[in-house]
């Protein structure tokens, strides 16, 4: 075979040998595929990438990749990711989370991560339900979603992650649909390449607790306009879309958080002495 310039990495190079235990049909399988394809496209060596997560079905993803990873505590994935990026700016930091972890327990971290604009990528697999704990409504659940655990629906207005990200200062805002692997791959590539804090909401159906979300396959459609760098235009666009508009919606020009790393390395023995009781 005379292959002209083999790509340095293939998607499989970023997958671990651990079998995912998500429900068959779960959108998170597609996200894992898209993320590994995106990393191959970026060509960053696995040891130069850290995948950080919180708690929930989607947060199992670091174990399924062959990169450095940290399956953190509930809602704190962005705090962990930010700390890591500040300490190790040479790493590509991808924080991957779900709608419950990211917008409820981790809601405050989300606001401030957008505001700080540290150069990292935040991917939220949004299935509008707490799947791991058997189907409670999440911050993005529709107010009239009727289920055994929320009879008649919660009646609460859902959280609007894209608007909040934009208003809080995220430098890149996009929405994607997990089943659209090609577009999701490209969106993740663009998100990682864009300087500053990039936020990608991936609509990722929960086949077990939200079988109604199978309709997302036909409901999602490409954004009919190009991404803008004007936050006001982006806000109007996001506020008036139907929630199924996918594509890159905003590419900001804010300067990323300026990371200064000082050489603070100390011999562990000296550190031990300093902390001795």
């Amino acid at each position: 075979m005379n292959v002209q310039q083999q790509p340095a990495f293939k998607a499989g190079d970023y997958k671990s040998d651990i079998t995912p235990i998500w429900c068959p049909g779960c959108g998170d399988f597609h996200v894992l595929l898209s993320a590994t394809k995106a990393l191959a496209e970026l060509g960053t060596p696995p040891e130069k990438i850290a995948v950080i997560s919180g708690i929930g079905c989607s947060s199992r993803i670091p174990a399924y990749t062959n990169c450095y990873g940290f399956h953190g505590v509930h809602g704190r994935s962005l705090a962990l990711g930010a700390g890591l990026k500040v300490a190790r700016p040479d790493l590509t930091v991808m924080v991957m989370s779900g709608d419950g972890d990211g917008f409820s327990i981790g809601g405050n971290h989300f606001l401030h991560a957008c505001r700080r604009n540290i150069d990292m990528t935040y991917i939220v697999m949004d299935n509008r339900v707490y799947g791991m704990t058997k189907g409670q409504p999440s911050p993005t659940t529709e107010p009239d979603w009727d289920s055994a655990l929320s009879p008649g629906g919660t009646g609460l207005s859902p959280f609007h992650p894209l608007v909040i990200a934009l208003a809080s200062g995220a430098n890149f805002v996009a929405r994607s649909f997990s089943g659209n692997i090609k577009a999701t791959t490209q969106t993740i590539v663009e998100a990682v390449r864009h300087p500053g804090f990039s936020f990608v909401e991936i609509l990722s159906p929960c086949v077990t607790f939200r079988p109604d979300e199978s309709s997302w396959k036909t409901q999602t459609h490409s954004a009919s306009v190009e991404a803008t760098d004007d936050p006001a235009r982006a806000a109007r666009r996001i506020m008036t879309d139907d929630g199924f508009n996918v594509g890159i919606l905003y590419r900001g020009k804010r300067k990323p958080y300026d990371i200064h790393v000082e050489d603070t390395f100390k011999d562990p023995a000296i550190l031990g002495e300093e902390f001795a009781v």
Binding site: M1, P24, G25, A40, K182
Partner: protein, 176 residues
């Protein structure tokens, strides 16, 4: 089934082989992925079926790799393949999976994938003017047609009238 009418023309035999090779790898990977899922959820019969399909796709990938030897094969970025849909035509849609699916349902998915692959090569066969591309497209279309027949034969072992829905005695959606 995704329409092939809008795909960009395949300009060389090398480009077609690169597509065919990628299709087999994607199909193999996807069947393995599905076999893993079925093993995890204790649907061992289907796991075996998907594993066997994966093995067959792997053999075809090896055959194509042999054919590629000595040819100029272009490097194609994952997003630049000229497939009619979002993915390789032969890759099963993972969104259609369910842990309670029956062999018949699984085979119907596999049938759709094989039919998509046949339609892809058949379309190239019809539209190309390059004799070498035409030759390879005809060969691959014929192979995919054989796969369709293979899956149909398997499907005939699971008639709809005898299909029993699998049941989960402890379903995940419970109010407790």
């Amino acid at each position: 089934m995704t329409t092939n009418d809008n795909i960009a023309p395949i300009s060389s035999a090398g480009e077609l082989l690169a597509h065919a090779y990628q299709m087999e790898l994607d199909a193999q990977e996807r069947y393995d992925f599905l076999a893993d899922q079925m093993e995890t959820h204790n649907n061992t019969g289907l796991a075996r079926l998907f594993r066997e399909l994966s093995r067959i796709e792997g053999l075809h990938a090896n055959d194509i790799a042999e054919q590629m030897k000595g040819m100029d094969i272009p490097e194609i970025r994952p997003v630049d393949f000229k497939f009619p849909g979002e993915e390789s035509p032969e890759a099963l849609d993972m969104g259609d999976m369910h842990y309670l699916m029956t062999p018949r349902q699984a085979l119907q998915l596999a049938l759709r994938a094989e039919q998509n692959a046949f339609a892809f090569f058949n379309h190239i066969l019809k539209v190309t003017t390059d004799e070498e591309v035409k030759g390879f497209a005809a060969e691959f279309a014929e192979e995919e047609e054989e796969h369709v027949e293979l899956v149909l034969r398997e499907l005939s072992k699971y008639p709809e009238s005898e299909e029993r829905q699998r049941e989960d005695l402890d379903p995940p959606v419970s109010p407790e």
